[in-house]
Symmetry: C2
């Protein structure tokens, strides 16, 4: 097991009927900014629950944070928050709204020249203060509600960058599984796949005798394999939705990565597919991961065999066959969630991938837990996913 | 899944060579009280590492906190801390030192009439302030290093009571597996059993479709079954000790109990065996749990069957046989850790149990996840464990 630090101070309020409790969690007299996305919260009743809970507070609304939240949009929120002297934010939405709110929270009091540096120079610029915020999660997927990371896109430069800081842990997150009943099927599917890939990025590397972390990653993937299809078939089943929601949160809150190497190459490659083609984040993961597993099955062999046995119960066949079967079953799971796992299914051609190959070539990044995913291998992974 | 709150702000510094980092975690200028037990930390080098890290701070030592820490001893520390104006505490030890330190931390600024009320009226008295503290864990077992609970004994009244409060979460805990190399075999065995029973108290109840919590509890028990005997056989194996240490911490930090019913009757009954006969905490659990499982196998049937299959890989036989086999394997595991699981092995007779039966009868407590463990059944459980 590797040395590690663990710290996660987020308060979770989990269960049906918890949204009203946010009134006890926001400091008295706060000027509250309410951040949200496209307005689905006004149709599904979440907005009115939140507003009822905030009765008595001055509330400034900032809607319209888009999927893959954009720097340009978020900076408008920062301006409003500064002029209105906002001192608490409630993010109501999924990972995009919450990630966007983390950036807003850090950017409002940012003292540097250019708030873009929070992302472009992540880890190098000083963040000494952030406006505190809580979240009401409406779309379980990214885990942003219980971690300190955010991914932000910038239109003008076709970039998608991330930052993390302990000051942007949410103060609290309300997880009410019933608010997910009205989600479109593809959003639940995306969330399940997103969580599954978050787990596998922290698991499918090389063994370091971190027994608990392995068991917990396996248990979380087994849970997602069980409840994922049920969540599509029975959208109103409370326990199924509760398991999906808690799985998504626990998948990427710092716990599974304690003491183990992590990969994250699937995410890095997938981000480019979102930036260039507008594909949903989970769709990009479903395309990249199986292909990456095939490319990397040498380096990852020991863990893929463990994954085959413990997660997919593959007990017979040669080791090579077990590896291939585990990859096939993983890809089939994504397909069973209704997601197509090939680039060509989205009309993407080899020709169109060229700017992505060029970008990796220019950056010269070496990805993966062993830094062996060179630009050449990124190209192989994407070509094999056509 | 049941509604739940989760909050755990403890910073964990895990791994070899981390003790020196406490100097960055204690506020500048603090007057530090160093609490510890019988002095083994002076023989194994931990004391000198801690003192080196605290170079430059005023340090007041308070040693001699005993196993099952006593109110009488702790109140002496409170007096010293008050007169010396201590504003940070470092607890160096196992669960007893850390539990004792939690009480000291809450008692120093306590405004009520009698600090014993922190325990005797737990949850009813107001705790508005506590002196912050960090821990250096030397004996993995109780999980106290990452939770807000403490169990304290009082000699004069033969009582063993507990309290919990968010203000007594440690600010940080250093978990260096190498400090456990020099522990006596029976203390490592006790720790493994203690953690195992912590997990089972939060697991072996009735099903509520909390899939992740079930998988994680099972994964943690599987890990302890794997690494427990290895820790006895190979005391200097870093990864084995790291797994034991992290298992003990994760077993009872609030995560496994999210959204599920909990039992804790084994602990409640076991506490009386410690109070009356001075048995080690883990020994009492090893005696009580198998007998309690036999008494409660009706109420707990569905979860015992799941436990049999997933933790012990029991696949054949009638359901009744699977239940019995799971209980036998659990008891054998404790015995394999070198712990005798019968009261008679410690020279305890039926006659001597009578004051315990009387105490449960007087209190009229109904224990367990369904409140069906009446004083009569406590008696049956203990008689069957003779």
């Amino acid at each position: 097991m590797k040395n590690f630090d663990f710290y996660n101070p987020v308060t979770i309020l989990f269960g049906e009927g918890r949204i009203g409790e946010i009134k006890n969690k926001v400091p008295n007299g706060s000027i509250v900014m309410l951040t949200y996305g496209g307005g689905s919260i006004k149709r599904n009743g979440v907005y009115s629950q939140v507003m009822a809970a905030l009765d008595g507070f001055k509330v400034i609304e900032f809607g319209g944070i888009e999927p893959n939240p954009r720097y340009e949009t978020l900076m408008k929120a920062v301006e409003v928050a500064r002029s209105e002297r906002v001192d608490f934010i409630i993010a109501v939405g999924g990972g995009s709204v919450i990630d966007g709110t983390k950036f807003i929270s850090a950017a409002i009091p940012f003292k540097g020249n250019d708030p873009w540096d929070i992302l472009a120079m992540a880890g190098k610029v000083e963040i000494n203060h952030a406006v505190p915020f809580g979240t009401v999660l409406t779309l379980p997927a990214t885990g942003s509600e219980m971690n300190m990371f955010a991914v932000i896109s910038r239109n003008s430069t076709t970039e998608k960058l991330s930052f993390g800081h302990p000051l942007v842990f949410p103060k609290f997150s309300v997880l009410d599984p019933t608010v997910t009943y009205s989600l479109p099927v593809n959003q639940i599917a995306n969330g399940v796949v997103d969580a599954f890939v978050h787990v596998i990025e922290q698991y499918l590397t090389y063994p370091v005798n971190a027994n608990i972390q392995d068991r917990w990653a396996e248990g979380l993937m087994q849970t997602l394999i069980e409840v994922g299809p049920q969540a599509l078939a029975n959208p109103m089943n409370y326990d199924v939705r509760a398991n999906v929601m808690w799985s998504c949160t626990m998948a990427v809150n710092g716990l599974l990565s304690t003491g183990v190497p992590t990969d994250w190459a699937t995410h890095t490659i997938g981000h480019e597919l979102t930036v260039f083609f507008g594909l949903d984040h989970a769709v990009t993961l479903s395309i990249v991961l199986p292909s990456l597993m095939r490319e990397m099955k040498g380096e990852k062999r020991l863990k893929v065999l463990q994954f085959a046995q413990r997660v997919w119960n593959i007990e017979v066949g040669t080791e090579d066959r077990k590896v291939d079967e585990a990859i096939e079953k993983t890809e089939s799971f994504f397909q069973a969630m209704g997601i197509k796992t090939r680039l060509s299914a989205y009309g993407i051609t080899e020709e169109q991938l060229k700017p992505i190959f060029d970008r990796f070539e220019e950056r010269g990044w070496k990805l993966g837990e062993m830094k062996t995913i060179t630009p050449d291998r990124v190209k192989s992974i994407l070509l094999a996913a056509l």
